[in-house]
Amino acid sequence: MKDGGFENKKELENSKNQSKSSKFYIKSDDFALAIAKVAVAQVCESVGFQSFQHSALEALSDIIVWYIYNLGKTSNFNANLAGRVEANVFDVIQGLEELESGLGFAGASDVNRCVANLGIVRDIVHFFGDGGDITFAYEVPWFPVVKEWKRIGSFWEKGEDPHGEHIPSWLPAFPDPDTYATQSSVGNGTMSASNEVKNGRVERKIERPLLNFQQQFAHNGNEGGSSHVGGGKG
């Protein structure tokens, strides 16, 4: 029973730590997914639903993101197959046909028929002929926002002398010696500042220069993907 109790405690703590770190864990697609959720909720409301389960909304918004992505991929493939780099309306309509191929499409087997008279395009026209405009609830800014790359200057640009002949002057300069200070964490031994970004989960006090260096590195060095902000800020 003793072991069971401790294991349970450890699991609880681990799950708490994970949920804490997941608060700071920034996924690159969260903003777009949130917008998709709002759009899907608006469409569901127009259809007649009054409320939804969170899991159902998340699943449906995931699916429409996949739908858009797949449609783009298929259209691009069709364009490349025709020897083009830019897709046109026929590529998109063919991609739509592929996605709806499970349900069947009217008129596609007829060689002489124009694409615009096909079942899919007509369905779209009919669909929007009936209902009114539902505008999106929020104003969406252009994203992703491209940040300016603040370069850490090279030895030559900064006017510093590299520490030794083996270091060429066009390499980025070393950071200030203050940021090299080692911090002793609570019960975890010593850890250097360079490991700060990698082992961000250990909570400890951070001095000002260390904090600035970490932020600087996180903004300039780790572009795209996930950015991991360590605990114990300020």
Binding site: M1, K2, G4, G5, N8, K9, A32, I35, A36, A39, V43, C44, V47, F49, Q50, S51, F52, Q53, S55, A56, A59, L60, I63, I64, V65, Y67, I68, Y69, N70, L71, G72, K73, S75, N76, V85, E86, A87, N88, V89, V92, L96, G102, L103, C114, V115, A116, N117, V121, D123, I124, V125, F127, F128, D133, I134, T135, F136, V140, W142, F143
Partner: protein, 144 residues
């Protein structure tokens, strides 16, 4: 000759139908914002400077969502009609239409998307225990 003229006229009609359709796309503002669609299309490698194609994708996606939601609504209503037999009080409460995972997975199955949710998760010894006794069991586990 006549046949050729007819086919040419037919092509002309088709071209005009297509251009009319594309022009009509710009009049309608889809619920799914253009920025979102452009973001995911750019991710997939789709390149096109024409805004009308972005609108076409947005419009097609909105239609897809509306169809899936509509099917889920039908499932929900069918379920409510089957449940309500005698009690009219329940009928008034169940008037609230909720998009559930159950209805959604049924409607998505027709579109070839297989969405299945776990019935239950047995990740801790306390799963499935009555909440009243759960606290007692938890305290006992911590004390031991």
């Amino acid at each position: 000759m006549n046949h050729n003229r007819q086919s040419n006229d037919g092509k002309h009609d088709d071209d005009s139908a297509l251009s009319d359709f594309l022009a009509s796309l710009m009049d309608y503002t889809p619920t799914i914002p253009d920025e979102l669609v452009e973001h995911y299309l750019a991710k997939s490698g789709f390149q096109c400077p024409d805004v009308r194609l972005i609108r076409l994708v947005a419009v097609a996606t909105q239609k897809f969502v509306a169809e899936v939601a509509n099917d889920a609504l039908q499932h929900c209503k069918a379920r409510q009609a089957a449940v309500v037999k005698d009690k009219r009080e329940k009928q008034q409460k169940d008037k609230r239409l909720i998009l559930t995972m159950d209805d959604l997975s049924k409607s998505l199955l027709e579109y070839g998307v297989n969405v299945k949710q776990q019935e239950y998760f047995a990740d801790s010894p306390l799963t499935g225990i009555d909440p009243a006794t759960r606290d007692e069991v938890r305290i006992m586990l911590l004390l031991c």
